[in-house]
Amino acid sequence: MSAATIQPTDMAGASAADTWRLRRVLQIGVIAGVVAIYLCLVGIVPVFAERPLIVGVLELGQSALLITFGAAGYVAGMDQIKASWLRAIVVGAIVGAITGAFLTGLVLLGEAVDLRAVFLNASPTLYALLTDGIVLTGPIVPIVVGTITGALAGVILGLPTVIRVPLVIGLSSLLFFGLFAGLLRTPMLVTPLKDFARFMFGPEGLTVAGAIIVFVVSVGATAIVRRTKPRQRMNALPPRQRRLVVGPLGLLTLAFILLFPLAMGPFFAQVIALVAIFVLLGMGLNITLGLAGLLDLGFVAFFAVGAYTVALLTSTAEYGLAELSFWQAVPFAVLFAMLFGLILGLPILRIRGDYLAIATLGFGEIIRILAGSDLLKPVLGGPRGILNIPKPLDVPPTHFLSGPVQIYYIALAFAAVVAFIAWRLRSSRLGRSWMAVREDEDVAEGMGVNLVQTKLLAYMLGGAFAGLAGAISAGLIGSIFASSIQLQLSINVAAIVIVGGMGSIPGVVLGALILVGLPELFREFSDYRLLFYGLALMVIMILRPEGLLPSRVTRRELHTGGELLDVPDSELITDEERREASPR
């Protein structure tokens, strides 16, 4: 390079390695390689391999690796796409190859040394999975597959949006329907649709024909939706017409929510009942944590109080104190949970921020230990707990309300009530004080907010709802043991609130569906459920701390949908009052 002058061409001519950003490519490849090895050794690849996505063609474990290759290729390609499409493809291929090389290395190492002494999953089954390409076998397979997938990612990057978006959605639909195929198939088998069901779905996963259809239909549907832009069209409609569209849609959704579990069979009903209970718990914590910002890691203690209250008051076994009915016991459960919140809250709510979280955790653990202890065994049943708790509605076994569906409806009803209360409170003086305390409690105090009272109310109300959930759970399971009181439950509910969106009601529902529903529906996921929770918490905090459906987004959405379900505050007054307020 000439030392005398600096010209633009000089900079472009600076080493090829720089423009190709080989160092970053290497970095991405190594990271992806480590991730791929991690997925293998932690067991995700072998365990998920048991679930087919497309029968005979693709299973979930391989898909996880394919996604890794593809994501790596995509990220690397993004650096190059502005320069040229070809470069993006090449870079994608290189990254994919590097990632694949890591896996090849693992296979070769594993054949030389028995890694199973350390890593349980480093088994021949795993190596077989890794070396089994469709046309090819052997250790070279991961590199080949990686290169191809990485290159494909580069290709996708360069496609015009019109093609790329439907393509990506098509692939995602494959993943989605592949996962849910079995679940969709089962209820359809008893309807006239059963031949169609057998054609599209295997007992798990899509059939090849089904896969093709799903892909084509979703690509087509996406393309159509993008052209017709229904959301924009709907916003352009005058409010009355909008309501005509939204109304029936809303009713349909409601009907779906109410009737779907009945159609789907007892397993599904059990899962959705659990989701509903967690929604109820989440609503409660949404007040304590979502609105007031108090990370209550001892939340499970309230759950326990509610459950044990119902148990003690209704059980027909030896520990039952009075044989009340479920419905008679529920108000007591809620009341005691609130009292409990008062007693616990008074001393600890003056503690600051993260220390408060640990203090509540401590309380939760103390409750757990005491509940299972010999000391309190005469009252609470020790580790065996209290049994024979009657179900809320005593119906004959053939009635459609026997079984978990009953719990689902009850939990749903209560969740709706709690959601309503939370929603009303949020746009009130109390709700605003909570949010102010969450944002900056010193400033809130400086404006006249009594911190202890405000926090105490949030703590008690959240606890009351948790007690309610505990009461219902006791009815569902029919018994309560000390081992159900786990710190993990508090963390799970906190995860639901945080991932869904702090203070957001739809967010809690979404959070419960994803974090509770999915792992319950899919065994493979449930083995790794908490691993994903942990990952989700980290990812959300780093990328989107306001959650998936934060309350501000949902507010805007609901508002522009024409329904005044949750209105930005300043719209509470008429235009006239507004004019009156600003005399210009």
Partner: protein, 358 residues
């Protein structure tokens, strides 16, 4: 005004409550101890035996507590995943020790066995440090300026992630440390009936923590850590690389936790993926007890907690006729946690955290 009256009532209620709370705790402790000692159920030898166990346990808490206290001092955040760093070190040490045992090293006399243990500790430290640095880089660093709850939640996520990753790698079973037999013999220490392994734990941890303390106080790196803990901005102005100091803090804490993991395994044999959760919380209690951010405080807090936890349930509660007091060991520790956080969050020796400006 109704609101003001409610204010007054709440104030009074809180004060009465706190007073009553304190009174109850003191009453239980004092009366319980008196009753227990009067009842004569336990001989002095029993108490010393408990104390010995408490010392061992407490040394381990102290080593883990160092990580909590130093990270809190420099970043004002609770490294919730630190318990898993301890667990990871324990696993690392386990595999190292098993590998060494398969070469016969553990059967070749005291010196060689101890050397093997040292190697295992180094391996454990390596594992713990790598993980801790990774966690700091991925889960904490992006969140340095976020409001306080955000890194805590990320830390909880990291804790879960690590726990269940290890479960995935190594299964949910319990691994047994191949502690050499000579360590399992009783040591001829008067009064405290401890085994050699317990002595090893106490001595090793004291030694390592002393070295650490000297390092933090005397070395350049240690001073820079203390400076950044005190006032990050000014330290940066003085040319101190805050990131490096922070990473080194994690390294030191992780190394101690990793070593603690091996010592724990040697003493208590059973190692499993969830082993870090409760010791982690207790170690945090110890850190707060001694004064968060305060290195000698961590040692003091750890030993204190270990002793209280070992002796407390029997001493305070058996006088009341409470059955199976050893069940309540954890409850006593957690009660200590709550008491310290409610009544004296600055700890016994006082906290050493940068003051925040209003």
């Amino acid at each position: 005004m109704n609101a003001r009256k409610l204010d007054r009532v709440t104030d009074v209620a809180i004060n009465v409550f706190m007073w009553a709370f304190k009174a109850v705790v003191i009453a239980v402790v004092v009366v319980g101890s008196v009753l227990t000692l009067l009842s004569g159920t336990y001989a002095p030898a029993d108490w010393f035996e408990l104390a010995g166990a408490g010392l061992t346990q407490g040394s381990i808490y102290a080593m883990i507590a160092l990580g909590y206290t130093m990270v809190y001092g420099i970043l004002r955040m609770i490294n919730f995943a630190h318990g898993e760093i301890f667990m990871a070190g324990s696993f690392g040490g386990y595999f190292a020790l098993v590998a060494l045992a398969s070469t016969g090293m553990l059967a070749q006399g005291v010196a060689v066995s101890l050397f093997a243990i040292v190697l295992a500790i180094l391996a454990a430290m390596a594992v713990s440090v790598i993980l801790a640095v990774g966690v700091e880089r991925i889960a904490y660093r992006p969140l340095r300026d976020a409001p306080r709850l955000v890194p805590l939640i990320s830390a909880i996520g990291a804790s879960l992630f690590l726990q269940y990753s290890f479960r995935g790698f190594f299964g949910s079973g319990i691994y047994a440390y191949p502690t050499p037999d000579f360590l399992k013999q009783d040591a001829p220490i008067p009064l405290l009936s401890m085994r050699w392994v317990d002595v090893l734990v106490v001595v090793a941890s004291l030694a390592m923590m002393t070295v650490l303390y000297l390092f933090v106080m005397r070395s350049k790196l240690g001073t820079s850590i203390r400076a950044v803990s005190e006032d990050q901005g000014t330290a940066a102005l003085m040319g101190i690389d805050a990131n490096r100091a922070i990473v080194m803090t994690f390294v030191i804490g992780a190394a101690m936790a990793g070593a603690a993991g091996v010592l724990y395994g040697l003493a208590f044999i059973q190692v499993t993926y969830a082993m870090g959760v409760i010791p982690g919380i207790k170690a945090f209690t110890a850190a707060v007890l001694g004064g968060i951010g305060n290195v000698p405080g961590a040692l003091l807090g750890g030993l204190f907690l270990g002793l209280i936890e070992a002796i407390g349930p029997t001493l305070f509660l058996s006088g009341f006729g409470v059955p199976a007091t050893n069940q309540l060991k954890d409850a006593v520790a957690f009660t200590m946690l709550v008491l310290v956080l409610v009544f004296r969050p600055s700890g016994i020796l006082g906290e050493r955290v940068a003051r925040s400006r209003a």
